[in-house]
Subunit: 270 residues, 2 copies
C-alpha cells in the first residue's frame, strides 16, 4: 500500500479548491496535489465526450504524480466521466455527486430536495438519478444557476446583485416545498450564507465539498491508505493548465490560504 502518495484532486478551474479546503480540514495529515484545468474552463457547457477526454488526460497526469486516490472535485466531470475514470484508475476515484446525494437523502424530513448547479450538471440529471437511486420516493427540484460561478469568481459573495440572482434562481425551488438544498457546484459553498438567508431557516444546506471530504476519509480508512498521524506538515502542490497568476489570486479566496507556487501544466503536449 502506498500510504505516502498524495491525494490527487482536480476541477475544471478553481471551484474544486473548496473541496481541497474541506479535505485539508478533514484529513490534516494528507499531502494533496490539485490540478485546475484553467486552460479549458468551464466544463459546464461542453459536451460529455469532450469532458471525458479532458478528464482522462488529467487522470493520466495525476497518476504520473503517484497519487494514492483521486477526487473529481467538479460536478460536470463527475457527471460525465466518473465511471470512465474508475475503469481506468488503479486507485480509488471519488466524485462529488454521490456524497452530496447521500447526505441530502439522509437529511430531508419531508422528502423534498432542491439541487442547484451549473447548466451542465443540471442537464445531466446526475443528482436526480443519484437521489432517486437512494430513495425513489424523493421529490427532486433541479435549478441551473449559471451566474453563480462568475459572481463567486468576482468575489461578490454577499452583493445585492448576487442576492437578486439567488432570489430569481431559487424562486421555483422555494415554491417546491423542499427542506434540503444541495449545493451541486464546487463554487457554491462560498455563497452558503447568502443562500441560507434566501432559503430560510427551515432548509438544510448540503455542502458537497464537505461531504466529499468525509467520503474520502471513509474510503482511505477502508483501503488502509491513511497517512500516519504526526508525520510532519504534509506537502500541498497546486497546478493549473493556464494563467497561474490568476489561479493563485482567486484560489486564495477559495482556500483561505495563500497558494505558494502554482505549477503550469501542459496537458495538450503541443
Amino acid at each position: 500500500m502506498n500510504h505516502d502518495g498524495p491525494i490527487g484532486i482536480f476541477d475544471s478551474g478553481i471551484g474544486g479548491l473548496t473541496v481541497v479546503r474541506a479535505i485539508h480540514t478533514a484529513l490534516p495529515d494528507e499531502a494533496t496535489i490539485y490540478l485546475g484545468d484553467t486552460a479549458r474552463v468551464p466544463y459546464g457547457p461542453k459536451s460529455p465526450a469532450t469532458v471525458q477526454r479532458y478528464a482522462t488526460e488529467i487522470l493520466a497526469w495525476l497518476l504520473a504524480q503517484r497519487v494514492k486516490a483521486v477526487v473529481v472535485a467538479c460536478n460536470t466531470a463527475t457527471a460525465h466521466a466518473l465511471d470512465l475514470l474508475r475503469e481506468q484508475a488503479p486507485v480509488p476515484v471519488i466524485g462529488v455527486i454521490d456524497p452530496g446525494a447521500r447526505a441530502a437523502a439522509a437529511a430531508t424530513r419531508n422528502g423534498g430536495i432542491g439541487v442547484i448547479g451549473t447548466a451542465g450538471t443540471v442537464a445531466s440529471g446526475a443528482y436526480r438519478r443519484a437521489l432517486l437511486a437512494l430513495r425513489p420516493e424523493l421529490r427532486v427540484i433541479e435549478q441551473a444557476c449559471p451566474l453563480f460561478v462568475p459572481l463567486v469568481e468576482e468575489g461578490w459573495f454577499g452583493h445585492p446583485a448576487t442576492r437578486l440572482a439567488a432570489e430569481e434562481y431559487l424562486a421555483a425551488v422555494r415554491l417546491g416545498d423542499v427542506d434540503t438544498l444541495v449545493l451541486g457546484c464546487t463554487h457554491y459553498p462560498l455563497l452558503a450564507p447568502l443562500l441560507a438567508e434566501v432559503m430560510g431557516p427551515d432548509v438544510t444546506l448540503i455542502d458537497s465539498a464537505r461531504e466529499t471530504a468525509l467520503e474520502l476519509t471513509a474510503v482511505l480508512d477502508r483501503a488502509g491508505l491513511r497517512a500516519p498521524a504526526g508525520g510532519g506538515t504534509p506537502r500541498h502542490r497546486w497546478a493549473a493548465t493556464d494563467d497561474v497568476e490568476r489561479f493563485a489570486m482567486v484560489g486564495s479566496v477559495f482556500t483561505g490560504e495563500a497558494l505558494a507556487s502554482v505549477e503550469l501544466v501542459d496537458l495538450t503536449h503541443e
Copy 2:
C-alpha cells in the same frame, strides 16, 4: 480577385455574432462563415500565447474555407493575435479594436473616453494604446466587467441584477468625466439600452460591432473585393467547436434570426 469567397468571422464563442449581425446589415450581398470556438471559450482569462495558438488554428480553418477576408470578432483575440494573423494571412484581417477606437476618438468632445471589456481585454491595454496612438491627449478610463458576458448569455439584458452590476462597474467611469463609452466586448451591444440609461444622455456609446462592419466595408471597397449586388441571397454558414445545440439557441438571441444548421468543427484533430 476572389469576389466570390465568403467573409470569415470568428470569436471565442457566440459574442462575435453581434459583429455578424452588423456585417449582414452593412453588407447584405456578402456571404459569411462564422466560427465560434465554443470548446475553448472564454479566451479572456487565458494567456496571450494560448490565445495566439487558438487564433492561428482558426485562421487556418477559415482559409481552408476560401474566405476573402477575416474578421477577428473577439476583443481578446484581437488584442493578443491580430498582428500575428496579419503576418500569416494572404487576405485582409480586421480586428474589433481599431474601428471602435477610431470612432471613439472622433466622437469625444471633452477628450474623456471610457472603455469597458473583459478582464483580458482591459489587462491587455489594447484600447488605451489604440486611442492614445490616435490622440495622445485623450483621457482613457478602462474598466473590466467580468459579469456582463454571463449576464448577456443568461438573457438578462434589462434585469435588475444586471443594472446593479452595471452601476457598480461604471461608477468609476462616470466619475471620470467621460463623454464617450466604448463597448469593448462583442457581447455588450446587447446591453446598450441599459448602459445608455446608466451612463446618461450626455455619453455617446460606441458599438465596436457596428464600427467593425463599417471598417470591413471600406477595406473590401479599397481592395476591390465587394460581392456584386443583386447576386441573389448570399449563403451564411455557422460553425462551432462544441455544443452546436447551445450555440444555435443562444446565437439566435444575438443575431435576431434562427441559425439554420450549425456545423461542428474539430480544430484539435484529436
